[in-house]
């Protein structure tokens, strides 16, 4: 049952997307072959897909942790921008340090910056009761303006027409998988951050279901009044959950800056924060589900490029249409509940008769 609803939602979204493609006079089967097929080629398709899945795993986890505490973090987008800038800043300013020192500092910069940016709306909710959804939305815009200002006026290489920072020190570069695994091509940007993302999933799982802290966070999300009765400070959980959520979103910066571009590039995020909401929702706020959902959305993002190039009319915008439709169907799962229960009853009756 836990798997059924997400699968049905994805299938329904593909049907809706297919209708759109038909309406503009293209072939949905060909479109979907291009969309999904290209992601499955070894090694480039799969390598790029996993590379694109990496930030989505982080943001999906971020949204899930907040959700387990009863909070909706719409602010992963802002958190990951601030974090990416912070890690680039560390990699530039402290560039003289040896890798053994610089690397952990860059990691910490991303996580701490994201955590602080996430904790602010958490604190505002705990202290003043203001709604985290509105505040995280506002914090997104503030973050984007802030890092854009810093890039443009303080950290741009003089004369560079592109809105990007200088390069970080090579000692803060994360290895690409191709550097480590001999038979994996080095041109694919899939890097150690992917392993970090899987590790983060395991840690989040253990944290939520094996530690007292995770218990408290989930209890506060499940029933705040009962949590308080059990001696748990709900306000603290709100701040802690938003900080953890922001920290996880901030780890996108590690992939982007340390693992991929080696500099801060303004406007780099392809809506990772918002897609993270879809990932968490489709993955049922469970780390394993998050990985699966992140890979699915990465397949779509990757497949948008050949769709753009090789179909007659369909553009890569089909990806966002599918994404949005999947979110809608997962969110409104009640839409499927009645027909599905009826179907199951009929099947059961059929089995009894036969």
């Amino acid at each position: 049952m836990t798997l059924l609803f997400p699968l049905v939602a994805v299938a329904a979204a593909f049907v809706v997307g297919g209708v759109f493609v038909l309406l503009i006079g293209d072939n949905p089967i060909e479109t979907y072959r291009l969309l999904i097929g290209s992601a499955l080629w070894w090694p480039d398709g799969i390598g790029y897909t996993l590379f694109l899945a990496t930030p989505l795993i982080f943001t999906g986890l971020a949204v899930s942790v907040a959700f387990r505490a009863g909070l909706l973090n719409i602010g992963a987008e802002g958190q990951l921008y601030v974090a990416a800038f912070a890690t680039a800043w560390t990699g530039i300013v402290l560039g003289g340090l040896p890798a053994a020192l610089l690397m952990p500092l860059c990691f910490a910069a991303a996580i701490v910056a994201g955590a602080i940016w996430g904790a602010i709306p958490g604190l505002l909710k705990a202290r003043f009761g203001s709604h985290e959804v509105i505040n995280t939305i506002m914090m997104n815009f503030i973050a984007i303006s802030l890092v854009s200002y810093l890039t443009q006026y303080h950290y741009r290489v003089p004369g560079d027409p592109i809105m990007q920072s200088a390069l970080i020190s090579p000692s803060a570069h994360l290895p690409r998988l191709g550097n480590v695994i001999p038979w994996f091509p080095e041109r694919i940007p899939l890097n150690a951050s992917f392993v970090l993302a899987l590790l983060a999933c395991a840690v989040v799982y253990a944290f939520l279901w094996r530690t007292k802290w995770g218990y408290e966070l989930r209890a506060a999300g499940s029933n705040p009044a009962a949590a308080e009765y059990g001696g748990i400070s709900v306000r603290r959980q709100v701040v802690v959950a938003m900080a953890i959520s922001g920290g996880l979103a901030g780890m996108v910066g590690i992939n982007e800056v340390l693992g991929y571009r080696h500099r801060y590039y303004d406007g780099f995020s392809d809506n990772y924060g918002f897609t993270g909401i879809a990932v968490a929702l489709l993955g049922r706020n469970h780390p394993v589900g998050v990985v699966l959902a992140a890979v699915l959305f990465a397949v779509l993002m990757r497949g948008g490029i050949p769709v753009d190039a090789f179909t007659q009319h369909v553009t890569k915008d089909i990806v966002q249409i599918l994404q949005a439709t999947i979110i809608l169907f997962v969110a409104a799962e009640a839409f499927f509940r009645k027909p599905l229960t009826r179907l199951r009853q009929r099947l059961r009756r059929g089995r009894q008769n036969g």
């Binding site: 094996r210 530690t211 007292k212 802290w213 218990y215 408290e216 989930r218 209890a219 499940s222 029933n223 009044a225 009962a226 949590a227 308080e228 009765y229 059990g230 001696g231 748990i232 400070s233």
Partner: protein
């Protein structure tokens, strides 16, 4: 006037109404009585269209009618005053009353004409309330009048009142009854849902008795008495005494001195929700009961001792075994040996989505032996939950089920088992048997007495006078946040306690 025929209603696995037949004669006051959870409110909410029945039919003036929404009921002349008032706090009395029955053109409302009509109605029925006041500023009694006016404004011929006296002072109850009688004189039909037998006898013409979702009797009020009704309600002779030996009180465990609790929200002018200069002791090995009408500060008292109320709202002192608890939060108080069975198990007591395992450790989840360091010890968790399930006969005995899957009685046993497992020095218990079946009630009562006999101090709050009288060794009476008397439950008469509870002397 109103007739329910074969009404059946299920909520999930719970059969709330089982082939219920109720007949209300026109121009009478009809009482529907039963214990909490007997299905009284469900039946009437179906008549008002708030729920739809799974089976059965509703007849108005002898004709079968489809009532699918409150709108349908209102059109048929039915009005309902819900236990929790259905008012929009931020709007005026007039706006609340005209809502859904607006006069004037479709384009604009004529609020002045409405206010004039409300004035007429309130003089006719002696329901005095300022049409321009904000609902938020009204006392509970005044809000109830707004609800009555709402029904009258819609020309209701049949008025259903769900536990209308639960939140009223005795004077307000008298006033309400006078109003209801006046309405009957004017030809209205009234249904009153209650679990207080004295009120049934005072106001009604006929009574329908419900138990476990079924109608178990319908009698004329004149032809019955309290004992007869009580027998019908609980299905056997009322067990007035819990079997217990005399208490052997030890040293003082809990001492409360000059405790005040400020109301968090707005205090209605006629009704205070604060605790007012309360002082008392509870000794080891005794059960001290607090009797009172619901909402007279019982919850605040318990929660203040448990550490669940913001310290800024509290003054005075609470001490456990001579050591002040000031400045300690709920967790620190639990660590000092205070256990707490809360009045509302769904709101406070359980994490409904969590498993029995996870619920079994709420409050001790962070400390040895459940957690040493950071990781929760699953083996220890299971050992504890199985101990509770076995010791308190929680069914079904599956520790991996979510708490939501249990019946009310089993949920309550799970909570009680968890709190007993703490081996507390002080147990705070509120409404321990609310919505619990008869068998479980006796079981819970026996367990409470057994805990007392092990030397635990027990502070018991219950709205059921029978329960506090039969369980307590000493009985305090609370009214409007003050302790207004102490009686010996072994010799006191229920009537005298009732008088104290309602502020009389």
């Amino acid at each position: 006037m109103l007739q329910l025929r074969g009404i059946t209603k299920r909520f999930g696995g719970v059969l709330a109404n089982d082939r219920v037949n109720i007949t209300v004669d026109p121009g009478t006051i009809h009482a529907i009585v039963g214990e909490n959870g007997a299905g009284k409110s469900t039946a009437m909410r179906i008549a008002y269209g708030f729920y739809t029945a799974d089976a059965g039919e509703i007849l108005i003036d002898g004709q079968v009618r489809a009532i699918e929404r409150p709108h349908d009921a209102i059109r048929l002349g039915i009005g309902m005053v819900h236990q929790h008032f259905m008012l929009v706090d931020t709007m005026s009395v007039t706006e609340n009353i005209v809502l859904g029955a607006e006069t004037g053109t479709a384009r604009s409302i004529d609020l002045d004409a409405a206010a004039a009509r409300i004035r007429t109605l309130s003089t006719d029925f002696k329901l005095l309330v300022d049409p321009h006041a904000l609902v938020d500023d009204l006392s509970v009694g005044q809000q109830q009048r707004v609800e009555l006016l709402k029904a009258l404004y819609r020309d209701a011929r049949l008025l259903i009142l769900d536990e209308p006296t639960a939140v009223l002072t005795p004077q307000e109850v008298d006033e309400l009854f006078a109003i209801l009688r006046a309405m009957r004189e004017q030809g209205k039909t009234i249904v009153i849902i209650t679990h207080k037998l004295s009120e049934v006898l005072a106001i009604s013409d006929a009574v329908t008795v419900m138990r476990d979702g079924k109608v178990v009797g319908r009698v004329k009020t004149k032809e019955t008495d309290a004992a007869g009704l009580a027998r019908l309600m609980v299905g056997r002779e009322v067990l007035l005494r819990v079997e217990k030996t005399a208490a052997k009180p030890g040293r003082v465990t809990l001492s409360v001195r000059n405790l005040n609790v400020g109301a968090g929200g707005k205090v209605g002018s006629g009704f205070s929700r604060t605790i007012n200069d309360v002082s008392f002791d509870v000794r080891a090995g005794e059960i001290v009961g607090i009797a009172g009408v619901d909402g007279n500060g019982q919850r605040e008292l318990i929660e203040a001792i448990a550490g669940l109320i913001e310290p800024t709202r509290i003054s005075g002192d609470v001490a456990l075994e001579g050591v002040s608890l000031a400045g300690l939060d709920a967790r620190a108080r639990r660590e000092r040996g205070i256990a707490h069975i809360p009045e509302d198990r769904h709101r406070r007591g359980l994490l409904l989505e969590f498993t029995l395992d996870e619920n079994a450790i709420l409050g001790v989840h962070y400390r040895p032996p459940v957690t040493s360091g950071v990781l929760i010890d699953d083996g220890e968790v299971r050992r504890r939950s199985v101990e509770i399930i076995k010791g308190f006969d929680v069914r079904p005995p599956n520790p991996e089920l979510p708490a939501r899957a249990l019946s009310g009685g089993n949920q309550q046993k799970l909570i009680i088992g968890r709190e007993f497992q703490l081996r507390p020095r002080l147990l705070l218990v509120a409404q321990p048997t609310r919505g619990v079946d008869i068998g479980a009630i006796e079981f819970i009562h026996r367990k409470l007495v057994a805990l007392r006999d092990e030397g635990c101090a027990v502070l018991l709050v219950s709205a059921e006078l029978d329960e506090v009288m039969s369980l307590s060794d000493r009985l305090l009476v609370i009214h409007k946040g003050r302790i207004v008397g102490e009686v010996d439950p072994a010799v006191a008469k229920a009537g005298d306690i009732g008088l104290l509870m309602t502020g009389g002397h």
